[in-house]
């Protein structure tokens, strides 16, 4: 097992024929991901990198059996593309696009109610289940297969953690970056619940950052329900208040938003908290003993 995606996932790319989507679709295929086509309105019926192009998500679902979508559609049209995927019956929607307006995501989240889909992102590096399926922009070769589940906001800090873990012989069951936006498709809690039910995942690493309360909410749930070690890190201990640190959501608006306050709450809730990002791998390793 794994979470969200595996070797049976049937993946499409929205905004398929664009430069970035093309590059990352080829990378995904190289890793063995089942890419069954893509959507570019107006180009339906064409063939792109040996895969069919559809005009609508609906067509991709009915004709190619798609159940996972990777969205590369530019910000002005992202919300529309996500809602099309939800309505079309896609189960996992990974939104790579950076710069989606916040109020668009508020409307998307409203539209999601009553539908059986999970949105990852926007502004995410995506999801990878090593050796099975890659729906994102991360370098697949650094992710060894293993038994640690990862959920992070950041992409590159996720890579950093994976490198430290693999030096100690630890691999990844599934890794998910949820993105740095203040209103995002799914939160840490949603994914912790999935990891809790996944037999292949032995421990979970949660990499958060300043701003918001998602990490603390997830840890509060985990204390009573996650029967595996939870390791946590919060980036931004040196960030000044009131400034957006690259990610739209990484901003200290109040005392509870600081890295120090969040790490303290996590520790109180029983999370093995990493103080130094250079020691993420070690802390995961110790927590398994």
């Amino acid at each position: 097992m794994s979470i969200l995606v595996n070797r049976d996932s049937r993946v499409i790319f929205q905004g398929f024929t664009g430069q970035h989507a093309t590059f990352h679709a080829e990378e995904a295929i190289r890793m063995g991901t089942q890419v069954v086509g893509g959507v570019t309105p107006g180009k339906g019926g064409q063939v792109h990198i040996d895969r069919p192009v559809f005009d609508t998500v609906q067509d991709a679902v009915t004709q190619a059996g798609a159940d996972v979508s990777v969205v590369f559609v530019p910000p002005p049209f992202s919300a529309d593309a996500i809602m099309e995927a939800i309505e079309g019956g896609i189960k996992v929607i990974v939104v790579i696009t950076d710069g989606v307006p916040v109020q668009d995501m508020v409307r998307v989240k409203r539209y999601l109610i009553g539908h059986d889909a999970i949105i990852v992102g926007p502004n995410t590096a995506g999801v990878i289940t090593p050796e099975e399926c890659k729906v994102g922009i991360m370098p697949a070769h650094i992710y060894p297969k293993g038994r640690i589940g990862i959920v992070s906001r950041s992409g590159t800090l996720n890579y950093e953690a994976v490198e430290q873990m693999s030096e100690l012989g630890l691999g990844v069951s599934t890794s998910v970056s949820i993105g740095g936006d203040p209103v995002n498709g799914c939160d840490f809690l949603t994914l912790l619940k999935q990891f809790a039910d996944d037999d292949e995942t032995e421990a979970v690493l949660m990499i958060g950052e300043i701003g918001g309360a998602q990490e603390v909410e997830a840890a509060a749930w985990a204390r009573d329900h996650l029967n595996k070690p939870l390791i946590g890190f919060i980036a931004g201990a040196t960030a000044p208040p009131g400034r957006r640190m690259g990610h739209a959501g990484a901003i200290i608006s109040g005392e509870s938003d600081t890295a120090q306050a969040k790490m303290q709450r996590l520790a109180e809730l029983g999370v093995s908290v990493v103080q130094n990002a250079a020691e993420i791998g070690k802390t995961v390793h110790y927590s398994l003993k």
Partner: protein, 390 residues
């Protein structure tokens, strides 16, 4: 993106949200003529800067005569106002807002935010106007009324009545206040705002509501469809280096330490800064070069970081995913050839095309400090400063 109070109030007027009569002035003479046109026997002169805490810092002055209006404007315009939000350097006042004074009966707080917990637009109101809402929420949370808006239908009348009642407004004023709430909601939604705050919203002696102070923040990601709002951006209110960096598609925030940081990805950039601090150093900046960093972009990042005279060492930490270590290395070589780099440079590369990147650096014969890991990189940067100082 933030705008000035006078700009927010102009926007409010177009939504029929009541604001005091007033006008903006660039000089003492202009301030005088605004006050003359307004008439009456009392005015307020307010410094226009993008920072809170103006009142306590002397940026809001009452005037009983036209001469006082002129004097206050004279002393404010061109001065640097230091508030709790500006830092020691303060902020240059380029303009003031001159408004009529009103007799105030009651002060309320009315605001709208995007609440991160519910991920919905949320109306916030309180009868404790004029105070910071965060403080009210901390000490007497029962005084803060919140109403969550369903984006499918928007803010409803019954919700406005609930909020009005919650802050002790009754009678005919329930309807009056409700209309202001709905207009404020439309103003927030139409313009892709992230936050709007009327503090205080006052009830005058005549029983009218007025937005005495107004603050609004907009979603930078939505400016592509909010041209009128984008035009209100005041670059004088921003750090010129941050503006320059954003022109090169770099995300830069100046801090006050001595380790210049060049990193890819916001999370790794923050974690790198944190690590520097754990090893006893202090980061000079946050800088995210983003994905797909070309050699030119890296060179620009170097230049911007090195312009800071406090920088005693540069730490470059790149974990290449969609980036490529060979391009990053070319950027480093380019930057160090073009710029006079007089401080030590610590380079940590990892990820895609690592070997090719290292080879470029080694072949170039550049004088740099190699680091394999994040811990290494942070530690060596801090050591390098100690050596420079010694």
């Amino acid at each position: 993106m933030n705008i000035h109070e006078y700009q927010t109030k102009e926007l409010f007027r177009s939504y029929k949200i009541p604001v005091p009569e007033g006008g903006m002035a660039h000089s003492a003479n202009q301030a005088l003529s605004v006050a003359e046109q307004l008439g009456g026997d009392g005015w307020v002169v307010k410094a226009q800067i993008h920072a809170g805490g103006r009142g306590k810092a002397g940026g809001v002055q009452l005037a009983r005569t036209l001469e006082e209006v002129q004097n206050h404007a004279e002393s404010l315009i061109g001065s640097r106002l230091i508030t709790r939000q500006t830092g020691e350097a303060g902020r240059l006042v380029n303009r003031v807002l001159v408004e009529q004074i009103h007799q105030i009966d009651r002060e309320y707080y009315l605001g709208i935010v995007i609440d991160r917990g519910t991920q919905r637009i949320t109306l916030i109101a309180s009868a404790a106007g004029g105070m910071e809402i965060e403080e009210v929420a901390k000490h007497s949370p029962e005084k803060v009324i919140r109403e969550i808006v369903d984006p499918a239908v928007g803010l409803q009348d019954f919700q406005c009545r609930k909020v009005a009642a919650g802050i002790g407004v009754g009678g005919k004023e329930i309807g009056k206040l409700g209309r202001i709430m709905k207009r404020l909601y439309r103003c927030f939604r139409d313009n892709d705002a992230l936050m709007v705050e009327i503090n205080p919203l006052v009830r005058t002696g005549e029983g009218e509501f007025l937005a005495l102070d107004a603050k609004m923040t907009f979603d930078g990601n939505a400016l592509f469809r909010q041209g009128d709002i984008a035009d209100l951006r005041d670059f004088d209110e921003e750090d010129p280096k941050e503006v320059e960096a954003s022109g090169h598609d770099l995300n830069y925030i100046a801090l006050d330490g001595s380790v210049g940081c060049i990193v890819n990805g916001a999370g790794l950039a923050m974690a790198t800064m944190d690590a520097i601090s754990l090893y006893g150093g202090r980061p000079a900046n946050f800088l995210d070069v983003g994905g797909g960093a070309s050699p030119e972009k890296i060179a620009n990042a170097f230049r911007i970081v090195l312009e800071d005279p406090n920088v005693k060492v540069v730490l470059l930490n790149i974990y290449a995913g969609i980036n490529r270590c060979d391009w990053i290395a070319e950027g480093i070589v380019k930057a160090m050839a073009e710029l006079t780099v007089e401080v030590p440079v610590v380079v940590r590369l990892a990820g895609t095309n690592l070997e090719a990147g290292r080879e470029i650096l080694v072949r170039s014969g550049l004088d740099y400090i190699h680091a394999d890991r994040l811990s290494d990189a942070a530690e060596k940067s801090v050591e390098a400063i100690r050596e420079v100082v010694a």
